[in-house]
């Protein structure tokens, strides 16, 4: 196998800035990296030594990097190496010299097959994605229209409400997709519009259908679900969408993207629920509501008897006293309410 070697200097987004090709000499290929003009790969990086490292490809195609007694060494897979034995690099691994990312490619690497060119349009190649996008958008729009129809009881206000809601929805989603497309373009040089739109449409559709179903089931069966269920479902959706957008629009590793995508919405949810609960736990006028009124035809479970309900009310005294003890401890002198 020919020990030809290409050294690529990468940007922060792993795009190739410069490419150096080296032919084998005596079965081996090698080059030096540094700031000095005597090096084969010359870098303008103040954190790089004059002659910083040496890259070698042997006859079997094995790639090694050796630090040439530099101050900052060579960083491979997060580990900084100084001098000593040359370290072996797996094919295509990105390593760091100073603040510059480098990648070494050899004849051993597998090359992805050529993508068929369909006359400048990639529509048919995205057939599946487009079908999912269409279905997701249709469900999302239908769910939104149904929601507007449900809450607008005056017929003459319905058309205005439908149009304004749809416009707002399309505007916001469009903006969101555009921002992610921009991020993709910066990171990978392609916008990935369809992929981002699919993520938004599918997540929106699933979240609206699931929350509506949960509400109806809660009302029909009298489950008395906590009012936090709705927000939690929405946040799960946001976490999924955010992770998917990050994976599509940035070169970060999957684990990292998932971590950020899940952490941000859940931290925000926890903070919001905590603040809300804090206010409610201190407010003397807060009465929660855990039931949705649904049409009588959907009510599937009878209520409990009045005797049983009344018997259970005695437990309220202990809770009311506990609430009093809580506010006396946590909020001993609140400001007087302004209203009369």
């Amino acid at each position: 196998m020919e020990a030809v070697m290409v050294v690529e200097v990468l940007s922060g987004h792993h795009r190739v800035r410069a490419r150096y090709r080296f032919a084998p000499v005596g079965g081996e290929t090698h080059c030096t990296v540094g700031r000095s003009v005597t090096c084969d790969v010359v870098l303008d990086d103040p954190f790089v030594a004059a002659v910083h490292a040496r890259i070698n490809v042997d006859a079997e195609g094995r790639v090694t990097v050796a630090d040439l007694e530099s101050v900052n060494g060579v960083v491979i897979a997060g580990q900084r190496r100084h001098g000593g034995e040359p370290a072996e690099l797996d094919g295509g691994v990105v390593f760091r010299v100073g603040h510059t990312r480098l990648r070494v490619r050899t004849a051993r690497e597998a090359v992805a097959p050529e993508r068929p060119d369909r006359g400048g349009s990639s529509w048919r190649s995205r057939g599946m994605e487009l079908k999912v996008l269409a279905a997701g958008s249709a469900i999302s729009i239908a769910a939104t229209l149904f929601e507007v129809w449900t809450s607008t009881t005056q017929p003459r206000e319905l058309s205005t409400a439908l149009v304004t809601t749809l416009l707002a929805l399309l505007g916001l989603c469009g903006l969101w997709i555009a921002l992610w497309a921009l991020a993709s373009r910066v990171a990978f040089g392609e916008s990935r519009w369809v992929r981002h739109a699919v993520i938004v449409a599918v997540v929106y559709a699933v979240v609206s259908v699931v929350t509506a179903l949960v509400d109806v089931v809660n009302g029909a069966l009298g489950l008395h679900l906590s009012s936090a269920v709705g927000p939690v479902l929405v946040v799960i959706g946001v976490a999924v969408a955010l992770s998917a957008h990050l994976l599509t629009a940035s070169p970060m590793r999957a684990r990292f993207a998932l971590g950020i995508g899940v952490m941000i919405p859940f931290v925000m949810l926890a903070a919001t629920l905590w603040t809300q609960a804090r206010g409610q736990n201190r407010s003397p006028s807060y009465v929660g509501d855990r039931d949705l009124i649904v049409p009588p035809a959907l009510v599937m479970r009878r209520g409990e008897s009045l005797d049983r309900f009344a018997a259970d009310l005695t437990a309220l005294l202990g809770k009311a006293d506990a609430n009093r003890a809580f506010v006396e401890r946590e909020d001993p002198s609140p400001d007087e309410d302004e209203s009369d």
Binding site: P284, V287, I293, G303, A315, N323, R324
Partner: protein
């Protein structure tokens, strides 16, 4: 609620009233000359009446004092009211609401009196009757002859007078007519058709012979000359029952809570174990349970509303003034009847859900702890409803609670109701038992 706060209360409210009266005074001052030109007959009787007022004022002047409250060591007053002597040993009657801050916050407030002649001194609270808004106070170093209390009921139509220190403008007498006992009031009141202004609280209401028929207590802010006196018999009872030692401030709050509880429990007992009902669109719902409960019904007359709403609201007008934003002892309930001809059951149910959140439950975090609630679907007589019952404690008053009930019908595809009840300052057992009574009364009888 358009019932005025008791006169002579917090400074801010006093200023609002004062401004109002100054403006009205300017407008009214022109009236007599115009009227005197047009109407000439009542001159002789007016002259007689004024002479009587002058005689009465001269007679009661030594026995009426201004009672002032001070915050901390301030020499500027925080609030003031009036009071009058009922024994010859310096025991005076005033309103509970004039001295309530001192009883509830003895470490923050102090009381002083000032006579019409300018003499001042300390005042201590001897006994309180929160239900009837009366207090017995000891006045230091001043023991004028007492006014005579006339404990039998005031007669409707007799000439009456009211004396006090309104708005800090000095001892004042107003002349009016007693309209006898107010029939529609839970706590007994005499209806006095005469002016009562902030600061006159606790002063005497007098008959033509100068006997005390009641104690000035309240007026309607938005109405003219509709004022109230506490009947003198309650002053007699308080005087007879008062122990010799002054009220022990350490137990004053317990005493206040006990009296509020007694008032509310008596109120619920009066309303009975079964509530009368009225049929609204097939639902039998609690209706006016006693003469003193005021009920109002209204609806939106617009014919093209997809959901038509009727509201019935009842109020026992029985709250007791304990302080700003602290008026327990009340009971009120309201029903919202919703129906539709044009909407499908799905959207109608959504409309009901939206109407659920419209209850305006007020509660000051300074005085009240948060609610503890229980919400369930419950089988009422002939229909299923979603019921919520809540209980909240008073932060500084032991043993009294507010009970809140919310009921939403779940059986009608195109008609339904939302109903809510709030009882304030009641014992939990009585309050929760009344919540059951309220739920028991509801029926589906199309």
């Amino acid at each position: 609620m358009n019932r005025a706060g008791p006169p002579g209360r917090a400074v801010a409210r006093g200023i609002a009233l004062l401004l109002l009266s100054v403006t009205c005074g300017a407008a009214q001052s022109r009236l007599p000359t115009d009227e005197a030109d047009a109407v000439s007959q009542p001159v002789p009787s007016a002259a007689t009446a004024s002479a009587a007022a002058r005689l009465i004022l001269d007679r009661v002047r030594p026995s009426v004092v201004q009672i002032k409250g001070f915050f901390g060591t301030n020499t500027a007053e925080a609030f003031h009211g009036s009071g009058f002597a009922v024994t010859d040993r310096g025991v005076f009657i005033t309103n509970w609401h004039v001295v309530s801050e001192v009883v509830l916050y003895p470490e923050k407030y102090r009381l002083e009196y000032r006579t019409a002649a300018g003499k001042t001194g300390r005042v201590t609270v001897r006994a309180i009757d929160v239900r009837h808004d009366l207090a017995l106070v000891d006045v230091e170093g001043f023991a004028p002859p007492p006014l005579r209390l006339r404990p039998h009921a005031a007669i409707g139509g007799e000439r009456a007078y009211s004396v006090g220190f309104p708005l800090d403008v000095g001892l004042t007498i107003t002349e009016g007519i007693s309209n006898g006992r107010v029939e529609d009031s839970f706590e007994p009141r005499v209806h006095y058709s005469g002016a009562l202004n902030a600061g006159m609280s606790g002063g005497p209401g007098l008959d033509g012979a100068g006997n005390v028929i009641g104690v000035n207590v309240a007026g309607y802010r938005a109405s003219q000359l509709v004022s109230f006196l506490v009947p003198a018999e309650h002053a007699v009872t308080l005087l007879e029952g008062a122990t010799k030692a002054p009220l022990d401030v350490r137990y004053a709050r317990d005493e206040v809570a006990r009296q509020v509880r007694a008032h509310s429990d008596a109120l619920l007992a009066t309303l009975g174990p079964k509530l009368p009902t009225q049929n609204h669109h097939g639902y039998e719902l609690p209706s006016k349970p006693a003469a003193f409960v005021e009920c109002r019904a209204a609806g939106d007359p617009a014919p093209d509303k997809p959901v038509s709403v009727e509201r019935v609201a009842c109020d026992a007008k029985s709250s007791i003034y304990l302080g700003r934003n602290l008026q327990p002892g009340g009971l009120s309930f309201q029903h919202q009847l919703l129906s539709t001809r044009s909407l499908d059951p799905w959207r109608f149910a959504h409309g009901m859900q939206a109407a659920k959140g419209s209850d305006n439950l007020f509660g000051s975090p300074r005085h009240l702890a948060p609610f503890a609630c229980k919400q369930r679907n419950v089988e009422l007589e002939g229909f299923t409803a979603n019921a919520t019952v809540c209980l909240r404690a008073y932060r500084k008053l032991d043993g009294i609670y507010d009970v809140y009930v919310r009921v939403v019908s779940k059986n009608g595809p195109r008609q339904g109701f939302l109903s809510s009840l709030i009882i304030t300052g009641v014992s939990p057992e009585r309050g929760l038992a009344f919540a059951r009574t309220y739920l028991d009364a509801m029926q589906w009888k199309p």
